[in-house]
């Protein structure tokens, strides 16, 4: 195993189908959660003696509670349409990373215990007993799925491997074999309010530092309010936005847009996290508990609107699930989408003409856009189907003069995952992450060769962190990955900004 990613596949093109390499990734496995981490999310601390019975009981419960789980386990015909669609398969060649084969790891057990054919003719239909070896195999390969749903786009029945991998992770959690990375983080959100475990005091100090920085850079006092009661907008953003590049630059971009739009807004220290890792472990209850923090914060602060910052799976939970998990939102202003994406907000303001830009500030950059999987295939933006593709691109084309898309079969609904999504953004999976990123990186390299593209923008904290880590392995600088609102921030001209002489005449229209 080359955990340093020395054996990065040399793809001839982004979607090159590899030769099968059986067992190539059998050793890949993330750290198991400690009893403490498990307790924080309400699961047993270690593998229970009666784990098998519990696992089967959970499987039965899932089949009764989740239509997708039941229908998808029944309907697959093994046509093979999905076999070459997973970026981890393309990057590793391990056949168990083919979506159907990944589903079969669980389907084989489901068939054995819950179907006529599997009970009586197991060999015939590929059914097998649940053993500890099977459990270990699940643990390995269901943590080689980023739940990006690319396979579900291409399946004639819409079978979504993400649903199966979430279910598998939930079954493993329930029997006491949870994943450290996800469960530790969810525990921190339950306890403190964000993935980083950033306390209110630290958050306040960070925001004050950013305010000073902004004023130094622009000469304009742009506020970053925290826990401000009576603000109109509650901003829910991934905590990475407070912590690391290029996330921070995107965050400062939102602040500038709010400032110029003349709206009042605030961050909540109680719900200081957009990410919701409850999704990754398939736990409705955990996902709900995290979402309810947002509801409580919105009520306590008395806001009228909720806007989400740049975060992929957070936007899935926000757009697709928040109304279900923490609604109804009848106490918010119904004239705005609930919740709204920061890109929707910014694009609206651009169309209204409230923002002024100097796109030449981004002339040193030739840009492309990476559609983040959860935004592209699991949520929407605006009022039209496909708004999630158009709106971020419209913003980028407004603030940047050089924009080129990557090949069509690697973007929009066919986008390739960054390789770090779905709870896999942890160091011990670096080998998997690098290989999984290789199809996207090849698509980027082709676009660099053809159009001289130097930078790639994304609206997902996981994508940004993952690419900052893996891009150097593919010949790019780590700062080649940028936030969409970082590009906005570079180009926006604040009212009264230093060196803004030619704009002074009409600088009053932002009030």
């Amino acid at each position: 195993m080359a955990a340093d990613g020395n054996d990065i596949p040399q793809l001839a093109h982004p979607l090159e189908i590899p030769k099968l390499k059986c067992g190539a990734m059998a050793e890949s496995s993330p750290y198991v959660a400690s009893p403490d981490h498990q307790a924080g999310v309400g699961f047993p601390g270690e593998l229970l003696p009666d784990w098998k019975e519990r696992a089967l009981a959970k499987m039965k419960e899932l089949a009764q509670k989740n239509r997708a789980f039941r229908v998808y386990l029944d309907t697959c015909v093994k046509c093979g349409a999905c076999t070459d669609k997973c970026h981890y398969f393309i990057g590793t060649g391990d056949p168990k990373n083919m979506p159907v084969a990944r589903q079969d790891l669980l389907r084989s057990v489901y068939r054995r215990y819950f179907t006529f054919a599997g009970k009586h003719f197991p060999k015939l239909v590929g059914a097998r007993d649940l053993t500890e070896a099977v459990l270990d195999e699940w643990y390995s390969y269901y943590h080689q799925c980023s739940q990006c749903r690319r396979c579900s786009v291409f399946c004639p029945y819409g079978i979504d491997t993400a649903e199966i991998s979430m279910a598998a992770r939930e079954i493993m959690d329930v029997v006491g074999k949870g994943q450290k990375y996800c469960n530790e983080i969810i525990g921190k959100v339950h306890k403190i309010g964000n993935n980083l475990g950033l306390q209110e005091k630290a958050l306040r100090a960070t925001l004050e530092d950013f305010e000073e920085e902004l004023e130094e850079d622009t000469g304009v006092s742009v506020r970053l309010p925290l826990d401000e009661k009576g603000a109109d907008i509650l901003l829910i953003t991934p905590s990475a936005d407070f912590f690391a590049e290029p996330h921070i630059d995107g965050f400062l971009g939102y602040a500038k847009v709010f400032h110029e739009a003349g709206v009042s807004w605030t961050i909540s220290s109680y719900a200081s996290e957009a990410a919701n890792f409850g999704l990754f472990i398939g736990s409705y209850e955990n996902m709900r508990e995290v979402s309810l923090r947002i509801r409580k914060a919105a009520q306590d602060l008395g806001v009228k609107r909720i806007i989400f910052g740049e975060c992929g799976h957070a936007w899935r939970v926000a757009y697709s699930f928040l109304n279900t998990l923490a609604g109804p939102w009848d106490f918010l202003d119904q004239n705005y989408p609930i919740p709204q994406h920061i890109c929707e907000f910014t694009w609206n303001e651009i169309q209204k003409g409230t923002l002024k830009f100097d796109p030449s500030q981004n002339d040193h950059i030739k840009l492309t856009f990476h559609d983040s999987c959860n935004v592209a295939r699991a949520s929407g933006m605006g009022n039209e189907a496909g708004g999630q593709f158009e709106i971020p691109r419209n913003i980028l084309k407004t603030v940047c003069n050089n924009f080129h898309d990557m090949p069509r079969d690697t973007i929009m609904e066919s986008t390739l995952c960054c390789g770090g999504g779905g709870g896999l953004l942890t160091d011990e999976l670096m080998d998997l992450r690098t290989k999984g990123a290789s199809p996207r990186m090849k698509a980027l390299q082709e676009t660099t060769e053809e159009h001289g593209v130097t930078h790639m923008a994304a609206i997902c904290a996981i994508c940004k962190t993952q690419f900052a880590k893996v891009m150097p392995k593919f010949g790019y600088d780590m700062d080649s990955i940028v936030s969409v609102h970082q590009m906005v921030s570079n180009a926006i001209i604040l009212t009264g900004q230093d060196g803004d002489d030619e704009e002074e005449g009409d600088g009053e229209d932002a009030a």
Partner: protein, 240 residues
């Protein structure tokens, strides 16, 4: 005697098919989808979803996007099968409906489409490394069963004609719960036996993809989660 054996077989097969499918559909319909998970971009209206599903089941839209070979063989097989099924209605109706008459010549040669489709799909199971890997013995058996039905049917149509008048009167009799004379033609017996087998395994096999596709949440949900609150009954209980 033969008439009675096949009568029992067909009544049993029909009962298993109907009850088994109804049971499965009941389960699918009853099982809640707790969250909105349409694969986006997805239609924003019910009408849009109907259209999406129509494109999916009539043109195999997603499969077309995915893999042109599987689409070609799969679509050819299924469309051929519909024509052949329609043509077979003539053995169960008297007088024969006008649109079944129209389909007659197409239905006759559609058997070749089925044959080509099945052959192509079967070849891929053997020749394409990835698909070979995911293939179980039951997948070969299913193809063998369908291939057997098509070939035995074609035998009777194009090679050794059976006494089709007698077969039809036997089938019309079964519909009236009357067991008549069935010709002891081995090809016919094989054909009917395989068809009955197919009917029996339908509700316990991957043939469930036929009803299943209509219940796939990624395909049948409207993309309106922000506008309309969606909540499963078991999840609503958590709110108390």
């Amino acid at each position: 005697m033969l008439g009675y054996i096949y009568a029992i077989l067909f009544y049993a097969a029909t009962a298993i098919l109907v009850v088994g499918l109804a049971w499965k559909i009941w389960i699918y319909a009853r099982t809640p989808a707790p969250l909105k998970i349409p694969t986006t971009p997805a239609p924003k209206t019910r009408g849009g979803v109907v259209l999406r599903m129509f494109r999916e089941v009539v043109f195999f839209e997603s499969l077309y996007k995915s893999n042109k070979w599987i689409w070609l063989f799969g679509w050819t097989f299924h469309m051929g099968m519909w024509l052949v099924l329609i043509r077979h209605l003539r053995y169960f109706t008297q007088p024969v409906w006008w649109w079944v008459e129209i389909a007659q010549p197409f239905g006759t040669y559609a058997a070749f489409a089925m044959l080509i489709g099945l052959g192509g799909l079967w070849a891929r199971r053997v020749l394409v490394e990835r698909i070979k890997y995911i293939t179980n013995p039951s997948d070969h058996l299913m193809l063998g069963l369908l291939m057997g039905i098509v070939l035995s049917g074609m035998m009777m149509r194009f090679v050794t004609r059976t006494d089709i008048i007698a077969v039809k009167s036997y089938m019309l009799g079964l519909l009236r719960l009357e067991v008549g004379y069935m010709p002891a033609d081995p090809v016919l017996m094989l054909h009917l036996l395989l068809v009955a087998t197919l009917m029996i395994v339908f509700p316990i096999s991957k043939l469930l993809h036929a009803p299943g596709v209509f219940f796939s949440p990624t395909r049948n949900q409207v993309d309106n989660p922000r506008e309309k609150r969606h909540i499963a009954p078991w999840a609503a209980k958590l709110e108390n």
